[in-house]
Amino acid sequence: MSLVVDSITKRFGEVVALDDASFTVEPGRIFGLLGANGAGKTTSMRIVLDILRADSGRVTWQGTENIALPRRTWGYLPEERGLYPRMKVGDQLRFFAALYGVPDADARTEIGDWLERFRIPEYLDRKVEELSKGNQQKIQFIAAILHDPDVLIMDEPFTGLDPVNVRLLKEAFLEMKGRGKTLIFSTHQMEQVEELCESIAIVDQGRVIVSGAVRDVKRAMGRQVVRLATDADGNGADWLASVPGVQITSRREDYVELHVPADRDPSSILRAAIDRGERVTRFEIADPSLEEIFVEHVGRRAIDEEEEHLASTAREVAR
């Protein structure tokens, strides 16, 4: 029984934040929510969590509408991180666990385990404001999962983390998945989605443009990506442009990337190259990357905005 977001519409005054948005998340999977700033990711998460109410549409989890579900069904990592700065890590986590009805003894054990897992057990009695941003984010993650929620909803969980902490967080994701939990997260970083997510939804201006299993989304693009390298020099690839249906998308230093329609067999290109007497050093058939799919659906503009946003976030973190 899955999490079903069914035809959600939400307006803030004149602004339509979500416009008839629908997607389904299979239980026990990791689900990626992709979209530019202001696309409606945070709003849809808040509606699933029932801290906002939709104007129309409904959300169900395992057949029960979300407004009837207990709060401890959900774990939430908001995009804007926030903890009590002058409260000690341990006290703070126990406070949130208590709000979710977790017995104090259980909370203490879990907190110890997770601090250990994140390699920061010495911070138990430190005030949150004394911790680095990355470590605060780990505490925030622990606060979201202490009550053992069925569904973990995370808004931009990787933003502002260094590579080591990104890896620790990914491991934590897989740990939760291993416990049979359902994970939903939004992100700007496509590599995390490629690596972790089994299914995705791309949201743009309040509408769900495409959703489903990553494999199906890629197949639905109706083309394959071919990467070809030969020992001829750079201009030697010009002949490829004359092959019907083939489109050169980029020329790199050591290979050429082509789009091939799904109904054509990519191996015909390899055959053609060999027939031309060229020595093929690389031939690769792949699905289009999520980044390509995202750009194609949302447009180059959104990607540029993302990069600008990421750069400013990175500057903020560095400060």
Partner: protein, 441 residues
């Protein structure tokens, strides 16, 4: 909808511990307690330091036909003013000899005037027989027109002049005493349950001041804490986490209870300091060799009234601070809190000032009506109970209306709160929040 507890208690506990453990809380509480204790022992201490030095006056008489001794007359008025009991009971003054006003006759007005200028003496009263045959008085001192001694000397001069005129009109001193004897006058309370004695009234007014001021301070100070704390949670973004874990009603209730408990802790510290100060006042003044008698007696309160005062205080605080929490949830930055709580502050101040007006006319019809209105009853009803006679049903009705007010405030505040906590960056406007409440849960 989940119940209020135990989450409200978790929130209250966190809020209370956070407040009480803060260094500023400790410092303010200690300072307040010290200030209260100081005020209670201050009169004795000042007495010992000679600040309340009894007045010393010289009288120069240049009219030898006076039958009343002006020295005795002036001294009697000064001593009676310092100890009203001695006149009512006709007993000897309880003020010790050393603290009584001293009035001496002088035959050397020049020297006495020099003493006044040198501040050796408080004043020199010169009495002469004027050309018209009336007595003329001249009082030499550096006292302001509102100086208590100067006022009393003026009174003494009036009395002396009148008895002198009567004397000259042929009425003897004994006859004029009969003439000015107060009539037999008894004021009887219409309400037989009204047990307040005349001499209690000063104490009752004082107690009213204390109750009204304490209520006002609690609303303003601790209400502000609540608003501030909500705004901090919002601007620190911990709010989004809280609102996912608990309902707005749980969060609001916990916040108000926790802050209220911290405020009560501070009040209890002050009350303890007051009790200790009052208890220590006697021994301290004995040790210093001064009179430690308080200038008033506190009225005796029935336990039911004390219970009612407590109920008005607590519910009044909850009513206001719940709304303060709602106001705090409307702003994104802590700097904007003052603006958001403005209307509530004016409301609290209106009740405060109205109760001061009402203290002078506690029996007025509009005071009875206003004392039933939830925003005003926490001030006005205790004032009426102390200063006037109130039917029990009025108190019960006021408490009932206040309780309804609390429930409505809780409902309104949690609507505003659940919408307000997710609104960032907008200008504070009731309209935008009310619009948001329609679409939120």
């Amino acid at each position: 909808m989940s119940g209020l507890f135990p989450n409200a208690l978790h929130v209250a506990k966190r809020e209370y511990l956070f407040r009480v453990r803060a260094r500023t809380f400790l410092i303010t509480t200690v300072l307040l307690a010290v200030a209260v204790a100081a005020i209670t022992v201050l009169p004795s201490a000042l007495g010992a330091l000679g600040v309340s030095d009894p007045p010393e006056i010289a009288v120069s008489v240049d009219a030898d036909d006076l039958t009343t001794d002006p020295v005795v007359a002036v001294q009697a008025i000064l001593i009676a003013a310092a100890d009203p009991g001695s006149v009512v009971d006709g007993e000897a003054p309880s003020v010790p000899e050393s603290e009584r006003a001293r009035v001496v006759r002088t035959d050397d007005p020049e020297a006495a005037a020099a003493d006044v200028r040198a501040e050796e003496l408080d004043g020199l009263l010169t009495i002469t027989r004027g050309a018209s045959g009336d007595l003329a008085f001249e009082y030499l001192s550096d006292a302001s027109p509102t100086n208590q001694t100067r006022i009393l000397v003026t009174q003494a001069a009036n009395a002396l002049a009148i008895s002198d005129r009567l004397e000259r009109a042929g009425i003897s001193a004994g006859e004029s005493a009969d003439l000015f004897a107060p009539p037999d006058f008894t004021a009887t309370a219409a309400d037989p349950n009204d047990s307040r004695g005349e001499e209690d009234f000063g104490g009752a007014i004082l107690l009213t001041y204390v109750v009204v001021i304490l209520t006002f301070m609690a609303i303003l100070t601790y209400g502000n804490w609540v608003a501030q704390s909500v705004a901090e949670e919002k601007s620190g973004r911990v709010m989004e986490l809280l609102i996912t874990a608990a309902t707005p009603r749980q969060l609001l209730t916990g916040k108000v209870l926790g802050t209220g408990a911290a405020g009560l802790t501070q009040y209890l510290a002050m009350i303890a300091a007051l009790v200790i100060g009052l208890a220590a006042n006697g021994p301290i003044s004995n040790a210093l060799g001064v009179s430690g008698q308080l200038p008033f007696t506190l009225p005796e309160l029935q336990p039911a009234w004390i219970l009612a005062f407590t109920a008005f205080f607590l519910m009044g605080f909850i009513l206001y601070s719940t709304l303060y929490a709602g106001a705090g949830s409307m702003v994104s930055r802590i700097e904007d809190v003052q603006q958001a709580v403005g209307p509530l502050m004016y409301l609290a101040m209106a009740g405060y000032f109205v109760s001061f007006i009402a203290m002078n006319i506690p029996d007025a019809g509009w005071v009875s009506v206003a004392s039933l209105i939830p925003f005003f009853s926490p001030y006005l009803m205790p004032a009426r109970i102390l200063l006037s006679s109130v039917a029990p049903w009025e108190v019960v009705l006021a408490l009932l209306l206040l309780a309804i007010g609390v429930v409505l405030a809780m409902w309104l505040a949690s609507r505003v709160y659940s919408a307000g906590v997710l609104l960032y960056g907008q200008r504070v406007s009731i309209r935008s929040v009310l619009r948001a409440t329609r679409v939120s849960r």
